[in-house]
């Protein structure tokens, strides 16, 4: 077997039983790695309608055939579990040396079940597994915990750990390592529920590649192309440069999606911050693009803060905060506490609107108040005061607050909406509605279509369906190989390029058409998981605000989403995928795509909705 070890490690934290489990070759070829492999493992290891924070809930770290190869941007891994925020499938990716060291342990994935009785660090090496007490690390930031553990275990170890938010089971806590985060969906809380402060990995087990010399040549050429104009934006300004573009196009969510432009956007832009702050650049391990831009934080001169579009938008315009230093500090706080910046910013923005409308008793919480933003971030991580209510995310908080607040709680399936205003980006609105993880710009790349000549982004139309499916399929492959999506502009034909990379690493003679089928399989398998966990068709919809309130500003002035039209698009999307109009998957499709039918999967065979 090339590119893989052909096995995963299953660890039970309750019993400390550790088992090696073989991964059949056909499973690897069908699901590749990363998100695909993680989904297959969740379907095999999970329980129906389970509690994501119960001890038996599986937590998965999945690597891929490309990790450890010389292919640029391939040092990535997927963390997967049922999300305690959404109660649906959650796949978060991250990249760092943890991916390379993790695969060198000799496994293609780790499946972690059970719960330790005390704070624990799970140590995985080729020689076996150890359960190391992590009491000293409990209460520390993930970075500090990693430092302490590496001092104790040795510098060869790479550590993924949780911060205080994960320990306190905040539903949008991150899993962090080397300053990067598997951020969305609260996987840090899943670790916290297992009293698993950290996973430390080290090893020397490499895999063989099918065509090692050609792989080196191909990788060299890919690295060369990655320096070209298609990635210049990421290298020179980072994703934060989207802020001014989005503001100009009226797609920048502002003050909890009450507006689509922010009057202080120029002040927060990287173009302006470059004139007032010192900046360094960095990259994930094994990346030649280097999109990370770290700015000095005047409050903490030793700590440089990573600024990307999503943390900038969520902690800036979404909360009405215009001071760049305040946004840097909020970002640093999220890193230290282990909070997903998108969900944290969106939840606080939602609370600010509730406070301004008098729906909650929080006079201090007003749009634009940076101090209130910082204070609320801390209270969420420790779940004190208002933080307890907000630590469950906007869906849960709005259900408790009531009084119509559900209409403007900015989430789909419980996952807070990222920095793309759906009324002004209506292909993305469809993507947000249907994607298995919830409102998500990484699993649905439909915004690419809106920012193109192909569609009228302000008016939904059936022309949006094929590209919405295509970009979602494409994302599922990027996330399973795993490669950074910022490479996408570099390829002439992405599926052809991915097929070639799999030929060189895993030795598969796979055609681009077969990869389209693989993508379809992975997207469908994620939906199967959701159905298994109680999904219902009404989840595939946006909150009322987007369906009833017109955009009050920007180039999309007056735009709104027509609910019946969006329902129709969702229905046609489902049909195009071979599902029923409502989105149920016919059993014969599961067989054809070789998706495992999980234990106690609701049988829909014979129901008219399942067979259309």
């Amino acid at each position: 077997m090339f590119g893989y070890h052909g096995r995963y490690l299953r660890v039970d934290l309750t019993t400390e039983d550790v088992v090696e489990v073989a991964l059949p070759a056909d499973v690897l070829q069908n699901f590749i790695g990363g998100v695909g492999l993680g989904t297959w493992l969740l379907l095999n290891e999970g329980q129906p309608l389970s509690d994501p924070l119960a001890s038996e809930a599986p937590l998965i770290f999945a690597f891929s055939p490309l990790v450890g190869s010389p292919l640029t941007t391939s040092a990535k891994f997927a963390v997967m579990a049922k999300s305690p925020l959404t109660q649906r499938i959650n796949d978060s990716l991250s990249s760092s040396s943890f991916a390379i060291a993790g695969k060198k342990t000799g496994y293609d994935a780790f499946v972690i079940v059970g719960a330790a009785s005390n704070p624990t660090c799970l140590v995985i090496e080729p020689t076996g597994c150890r359960f190391v007490a992590a009491d000293e690390c409990w209460g520390q930031s993930s970075e500090r915990a990693a430092d302490l553990l590496r001092e104790q275990l040795g510098k060869q170890f790479r550590v993924a750990s949780i911060g205080v938010a994960g320990e306190n089971l905040v539903r949008f806590a991150t899993v962090s390592h080397e300053g990067r985060h598997a951020a969305r969906g609260g996987l840090g809380a899943v670790m916290g529920s297992k009293r698993l402060k950290a996973v430390a990995v080290a090893g020397d087990r490499t895999v063989e590649y099918a065509h090692p010399h050609k792989l080196v040549d191909y990788s060299r050429e890919l690295s060369r192309k990655s320096f070209g104009p298609a990635t210049a934006k990421y290298r020179e300004l980072g994703t934060a440069t989207n802020l001014l573009t989005f503001n100009r196009l009226g797609t920048l969510p502002t003050r909890n999606f009450q507006a689509s432009t922010f009057e202080h956007a120029e002040d927060l832009s990287p173009e302006a911050m470059l004139t007032t702050h010192s900046r360094t650049r960095a990259s994930c391990a094994a990346c030649t693009i280097g999109c990370e831009h770290l700015y000095s934080d005047p409050e903490s001169p030793d700590a440089a803060v990573r600024i990307e579009y999503e943390n900038l938008f969520a902690l800036g315009p979404l909360c009405g905060v215009s001071d760049p230093d305040a946004v840097l500090q909020a970002s640093r706080l999220c890193d230290e506490l282990g909070l997903d910046t998108i969900s944290a910013g969106a939840t606080i923005a939602f609370a600010m609107e509730c406070a301004e409308r008098g729906l909650i008793d929080a006079d201090h919480l007003r749009f634009g108040d940076a101090q209130a933003l910082h204070q609320t971030l801390r209270s969420i991580a420790t779940r004190q005061g208002l933080g307890e209510l907000l630590s469950h995310g906007t869906r849960s908080a709005s259900r408790e607050i009531g009084q119509g607040s559900e209409d403007f709680a900015p989430h789909v399936k419980g996952l807070e909406i990222p920095g793309y205003e759906p009324r002004a980006l209506q292909t993305m609105a469809l993507g947000f509605a249907v994607t298995a993880r919830g409102a998500d710009h990484n699993r649905s790349g439909a915004y690419q279509v809106d920012f193109s000549e192909s569609v009228d982004r302000l008016h939904a139309s059936p022309a949006m369906i094929p590209p919405a499916i295509e970009t979602e399929n494409e994302a599922s492959l990027f996330d399973s190989l795993i490669l950074c999506k910022f490479l996408r502009g570099v390829f002439d034909d992405k599926f052809m390029a991915m097929a070639e990379m799999l030929r060189l690493t895993a030795g598969w003679d796979v055609s681009p058409d077969e990869l389209h089928r693989t993508a379809e399989r992975i997207v469908t398998a994620k939906k199967v998981y959701n159905i298994w966990q109680g999904w219902s068709p009404d989840e595939d919809m946006l909150p009322k605000r987007f369906l009833t309130e017109q955009l009050p500003d920007g180039t999309g002035f007056g735009a709104t989403i027509d609910e019946s039209q969006l329902r129709q698009l969702v229905c046609e999307y489902n049909r195009a995928r071979g599902w029923s109009d409502e989105g149920w998957i016919p059993n014969n499709q599961l067989k054809v795509l070789q998706i495992p039918i999980p234990q106690d999967y609701p049988s829909l065979e014979g129901s008219s909705s399942a067979t259309s």
Partner: protein, 87 residues
């Protein structure tokens, strides 16, 4: 036709300014003028009267286009952007 041109991202970095005014009746004519005025921007973003693949034009914040024959009217605003807006 007097057209206001606004630059974003890499085009702004290469042009060294955020906006300007030009006289042009089509996207191609506008792009040609911009190329003459900003050789550094031209080198990376423009070929003859067309924007490279990684770049895109938008008229009045509404219509995305790369078509050189796309007509521009008096008072239009032309945005020159990086095409890949992922974040």
């Amino acid at each position: 036709m007097t057209v206001r041109v606004e630059f974003f991202g890499i085009p702004r970095q290469r042009a060294g300014l955020a906006m300007m005014q030009i006289e042009a009746g089509s996207l191609g004519a506008a792009v040609t003028q911009i190329a003459t005025q900003f050789p550094q921007l031209a080198e990376e973003c423009i070929h003859a009267d067309t924007l490279h693949d990684g770049y895109l034009a938008n008229v009045n914040g509404l219509t995305f286009t790369r078509d050189p024959s796309y007509p521009l009217n008096d008072g239009d605003t032309l945005l020159i952007l990086s095409a890949d807006v992922g974040g």
